[in-house]
């Protein structure tokens, strides 16, 4: 009797472990439209209304805890924010003059003006109804999908409401169902964004630093590039001259600011940047559903 119980227990454990590994392997092997992905989308479709209801109902609880956390860190943030405000005030004055000059020069050489706001990109505002429970902060679920014109691959912007530099790119739509979508965040290892500093002093690929949603890496920066602490990093947009190689992301979407540069001046110099948006505090996002001039 005892032997039978032990055998049964071990068989169940072995079976469950084997099932997990088979699922894992199959999920990796199959394409995006495979059976398991299809099942996931179906479950997402069913669960998302419940998630949305729970998310709305539990908002006061989340806000209460958020208030406690914010109060603890507010003092340190205030000093930092004042310092940054002074820096930005100076930069804004400079930029205003540069922007005016840029417009005049564009008009002079007959270039079509790039869209000055997001309206041209067909932004769709959506509410965050679910968030990755793991430490990897890899995905969020939003309450709009294909019925609102949202499809896989579209860029997603957000603001975390912390004031100051709180708006920026947070990722791209990974999967879209009829009434809901899953957004893969910049902190996911499979997301890479072609980016540059605002003044063009460095060009590279923004990648995540796992486990730290407040740190990204600007990888593959050339030795000749000169990234510096404090510079803003934005999306590079389409670099290729052919229309077949469009970038997923429009140009000049803010991503973050450089906080330090490892091995500066070396062939493998790596700037680290702090994203403008705290990915754990996002409540609303904007999905850009249109491309303008192939995202150039």
């Amino acid at each position: 009797m005892y032997d039978k119980t032990v055998r049964q227990r071990r068989a169940v454990l072995g079976l469950l472990v084997a099932c997990s590994l088979i699922l894992l392997t199959q999920y990796f092997r199959e394409p995006g439209g495979g059976a398991l992905h299809h099942v996931q989308r179906g479950i997402l479709e069913v669960v998302s209304p419940i998630q949305e209801g729970a998310s709305r109902a539990l908002k006061p609880v989340r806000d209460t805890f958020g208030w406690v956390g914010d109060t603890v860190s507010a003092k340190g943030d205030l000093a930092q924010a004042r310092k940054e405000r002074d820096q930005w005030r100076t930069a804004a004055t400079r930029n205003e003059a540069a922007s005016r000059e840029n417009a005049q020069l564009r008009a002079a050489v007959g270039l079509e003006a790039a869209p000055s706001d997001m309206a041209a990109y067909g932004p769709q505002t959506a509410r965050v109804i679910g968030q990755s429970g793991t430490l990897w902060y890899a995905k969020i679920t939003i309450d709009k999908g294909t019925s609102s014109g949202i499809n896989a691959g579209m860029p997603v912007l957000a603001t975390d409401g912390s004031g100051g530099d709180d708006t920026g790119l947070i990722g791209r739509v990974d999967q879209a169902a009829r009434g809901t979508s899953v957004v893969r965040l910049l902190t996911d290892s499979s997301v890479a964004v072609s980016a540059r500093t605002v003044n063009g002093s460095a060009l590279g690929i923004v990648k995540p630093s796992p486990g730290n949603p407040r740190d990204l890496i600007l990888d593959y920066v050339a030795k000749e590039d000169t990234p510096a602490v404090g510079q803003t990093v934005v999306t590079a947009g389409t670099v290729s001259r052919t229309d077949e190689l469009d970038s997923v992301y429009p140009p000049d979407l803010p991503i973050g600011r450089i906080t330090r540069v490892d091995d500066q001046g070396a062939a493998d110099q790596t700037p680290h940047l702090r994203p403008f948006v705290d990915l754990r505090r996002v409540q609303f996002v904007q999905v850009l559903t249109e491309k303008v001039d192939h995202n150039r």
Binding site: L21, Q40, D215
Partner: protein, 188 residues
């Protein structure tokens, strides 16, 4: 342990509630850079109350639902939750600990197994960026949070599953000894 249909129904509802609560609310509450994780606590609680097979099965299906709801790699959370549920269940079957702090210790251990296990599996699956000190700090903070909330969570789960749990003969015997009913000394 014989599992009644009533217990299965309660376990299904518990699994659904835990995943939805975790995804829709708990994961969005950040304190000191970390969040609590109800999933390993629920799995460990079920293992501790229902045994290793029930714990492992509950862990598998909760993990599967969690991965499906978040469109994550299927099988990853299931794998780590099976280990946590089975481990908690074996602890009950071998030692049947009764101390008040048991939920805290088991909850912390289950969280450690799932978080470190999940991290390890992710790295094995090809995340090529360096491990940061912050990741370790966040994992430790999550373990501490979970240990703190484990007592009320275990109590709630015990209350929810209690009416459907069969009376354990060993526990019944222990209760009888404690109250003097079956004690050889009292009979002498």
């Amino acid at each position: 342990m014989a599992v009644s249909p009533q217990l299965i129904l309660r376990l299904i509802l518990l699994g659904l509630a835990v995943v939805i609560l975790q995804v829709a609310a708990v994961s969005q509450v950040v304190l000191f850079g970390a969040t609590a994780d109800l999933t390993p606590l629920a799995v460990a609680a079920v293992g501790l109350m229902c045994g290793s097979i029930s714990g492992a099965l509950f862990g598998f299906f909760v993990g599967l639902f969690f991965d499906a709801a978040l469109v994550q790699t299927m099988g990853l959370t299931s794998f780590v939750c099976v280990v946590a549920g089975y481990g908690a269940g074996r602890l009950r079957e071998l030692r049947d600990p009764q101390a008040t702090v048991v939920p805290m210790i088991v909850g912390a251990l289950a969280t450690a197994i799932t978080t470190f296990g999940y991290g390890l599996m992710n790295f094995m699956l090809g995340i090529d960026a360096p491990v940061s000190f912050l990741l370790l700090r966040v994992i430790l903070a999550t373990i501490v949070f979970n240990a703190i909330i484990s007592l009320p969570i275990f109590a709630l789960i015990r209350r929810w599953l209690g009416p459907a749990l069969p009376d354990d003969p060993r526990r019944r015997r222990r209760r009888a000894y404690t109250t003097g009913g079956l004690s050889p000394l009292s009979r002498a």
